[in-house]
């Protein structure tokens, strides 16, 4: 009965007028940035973080989460209509979605994508409600060694699942870890790598880092090529898929949801890999695999369901264990910490209104998105027609304001521009940013848990192998890193990407 009481509590929080308004706002902004190529949810959440400072923590997190799942909806709209994925998670939707649009069936494709997203989002939220509390209870028994192993596993998984060579991804994790160490050591009070500057005494800020890497870096990178736009909206949009469409995509939808959720829960899994995998599975399950890529509705339903289920699933490690699995979750964790809340097993007990309110707001948000997405498609298309040359100076200005407003410190802004240039170079030299951000966010906790574990064990690193849970995790991590020498799974993903 506890669960029902909690759900009622959640809805009473989510349906408060202010929270409802900000949930709506988050979903709307999320869809907008999902539609706009060149700015993604990570940079947007970082950008809007300072705005949430004067909001209650629960309202703030409801809005920021709305941006995240809203972007998944918006990204698919551009994939289908323009063949430009607004987000990496909707890259595969382009394949069949755009072909459907070319055949004059943009309406059903958009309708199916919105519906699949809705079903998947709702499913993910329900499972999240059922799964997170018991998981958190289990995690309460974790000590520093378990947390250390778990965080190392999370980083390794993210590196393992990234598209480039694992050594490059782990290298980025190392850099992120280093950046987290800059500033005052919380245990001894020593300043580290500050080069006698006051700005670095506080450590490097999450917002300048993320906005530089994901905001400015992306803009600089996009300056190279003209973004081509061919919008297919000549025919009147009939949004409802036909009965035949439903028949063709119902199982694709179910499979997409399940695959998406399972992969979303894994640290490093995330929405992008989920959608790629779901599409590949769908092609394998299909009786007519050769038709994929010519405008099959199942090829839209399955990845769209998967990316939304995954973005719901990704909340589990963050909310239950306090360990984010993706870059977006990392910045959401940063947001919670700035608001004075430490995500993790204690959060569900100490701030039940926040936890249950957030979950209930996801239900509400999914309904808002369904209502929002369908009638507003015309508006999104019009926004897409704004040339990038007009858009990006404004994005830059927003990044400048965002990084400045955190502490009213211009050096933070300067740091952001530097990270922007670094982010650009990383893109050019094919180094991925998510492992860096994740390691950066986890850095201080990794250090703390490592030092504490060593204190507990009186200096023996064997402690990580002597405690059963930690041993299982760390052995799995070693196995994972070692298995990159047998790149069967990673090869498979590269193959999928090649098809795209």
């Amino acid at each position: 009965m506890d669960l029902i009481n909690n759900i009622i509590l959640g809805f009473s929080v989510a349906l408060e007028p202010t929270n409802l308004l900000f949930c709506f706002l988050g979903a709307l902004i999320g869809t907008l940035v999902g539609v706009l190529p060149g700015i993604g949810p990570v940079a947007t959440i970082a950008l809007l973080l300072p705005i949430t400072f004067h909001l209650r923590p629960v309202t703030a997190i409801i809005m920021l989460a709305g941006i995240y799942y809203g972007a998944m909806y918006g990204g698919s709209t551009t994939s289908i209509l323009v063949n430009i994925p607004g987000e990496s998670a909707s890259v595969v939707t382009c394949i069949d979605g755009y072909q459907m649009a070319r055949k004059g069936r943009a309406g059903p494709a958009l309708g199916m994508s919105a519906f699949a997203s809705f079903v998947a989002g709702t499913f993910a939220t329900i499972i999240l409600m059922l799964l997170a509390p018991p998981l958190a209870e289990m995690a309460l028994k974790f000590g520093p060694p378990e947390y250390f192993s778990l965080m190392v596993l999370g980083l390794s998984l993210l590196a393992y699942l990234s598209s480039g060579p694992i050594s490059k991804a782990m290298l980025m994790a190392g850099i992120g870890l280093f950046l987290a160490l800059v500033g005052i050591d919380t245990i001894t009070g020593t300043t580290r790598f500050t080069f006698d500057t006051v700005t670095l005494m506080d450590g490097i800020g999450l917002v300048p880092l993320v906005m530089g890497l994901f905001g400015i870096g992306e803009v600089l990178f996009n300056l190279e090529g003209e973004i081509k736009r061919d919008i297919y909206t000549k025919k009147a949009l009939h949004l409802l898929p036909t009965l035949q469409d439903w028949r063709e995509s119902k199982w694709a939808l179910v499979r997409g949801v399940l695959i998406g959720f399972a992969l979303g829960v894994l640290p490093g899994g995330g929405a992008t890999i989920a959608s790629f995998t779901a599409y590949a599975v769908e092609r394998r399950c299909s009786k007519t695999p050769e038709k994929f890529g010519t405008g099959m509705i199942a090829g839209v339903a399955s990845p769209e369901a998967a990316n939304n289920a995954a973005s719901g699933g990704a909340f589990i490690p963050l909310l239950a264990l306090g360990i984010p699995g993706t870059a977006t979750m990392a910045i959401l964790m940063g947001a919670l910490i700035i608001h004075g809340i430490q995500p993790g097993p204690m959060m569900i007990l100490q701030n039940p209104d926040l936890f249950w309110g957030l979950l209930a707001s996801m239900y509400v948000g999914n309904i808002v998105l369904l209502i929002l997405n369908l009638p507003l498609i015309g508006l999104w298309v019009r926004i897409l027609r704004i040339p990038y040359g007009i858009l990006f100076p404004v994005i830059l200005l927003l990044c400048l304001i965002g990084s400045y407003s955190i502490k009213n410190n211009l050096w933070d802004t300067f740091l952001m521009v530097i990270f922007g240039i670094i982010g650009y170079l990383m893109r050019k030299y094919k180094y991925e940013a998510p492992p860096l951000v994740l390691a950066f966010v986890l850095g201080t906790r990794i250090e703390e848990s490592l030092r504490r574990s060593l204190l507990i064990s009186d200096g023996s690193p064997l402690i990580f192998f002597q405690r059963p849970i930690s041993a299982v995790i760390i052995i799995f991590t070693i196995f994972l890193l070692a298995s990159t020498f047998f790149p069967a799974l990673r090869g498979k993903r590269a193959k999928i990407e090649k098809i795209v």
Binding site: P165, F178, L181, L400, S460
Partner: protein, 152 residues
């Protein structure tokens, strides 16, 4: 990517070495009593290790595929974005938010975004003023007023 990987991983190896060599200044301590320099030391080793792995991987890569990553880059455009951004930071306190934002958006939009003068001027006007009203007035974020300080 081979040549680029060799270059970039070499830079990271140097960086990792710097971190490793600098850590003793912070007191590395011992396994029994890890000090402030312990994690940086470990971190430097991790960076060196994976950078070396990247280097070796590129070194033994036999494919002769040459990827030119700087071919399509319009360096002038890049500089025309980065320079106004840096100037903006240094002039923000002096000129205030509205004026510096106006000129930054104008220059970037006109020269890097290749928009017409009319479009650039009007977009620069609209964005700087509306963002000031939104962030400065409505959300009460302290944006520098600079020489326009008399506006309340």
């Amino acid at each position: 990517m081979r040549k680029h990987d060799l270059v970039s991983s070499f830079v990271f190896i140097c960086f990792g070495l710097f971190v490793v060599l600098y850590s003793p200044h912070l007191d590395v301590g011992s396994l029994r009593r890890p000090g402030s320099g312990f994690m940086p030391f470990l971190c430097g080793l991790i960076i060196c290790g994976f950078a070396a792995a990247t280097f070796l991987r590129a070194f033994f890569n036999r494919s002769n595929e040459i990827e030119k990553i700087w071919d399509k880059v319009n360096f002038l455009k890049l500089i025309l974005v980065i320079l106004p951004l840096i100037l903006y930071i240094f002039l923000l306190n002096l000129l205030g938010f509205i004026i510096s934002s106006f000129f930054m958006v104008l220059i970037i939009m006109r020269y890097a975004g290749s928009q017409t003068w009319i479009k650039s001027v009007s977009m620069a006007c609209v964005s700087s003023i509306s963002l000031y009203l939104f962030f400065g007035m409505w959300l009460k974020i302290q944006l520098p007023k600079g020489i326009l300080g008399f506006i309340e």
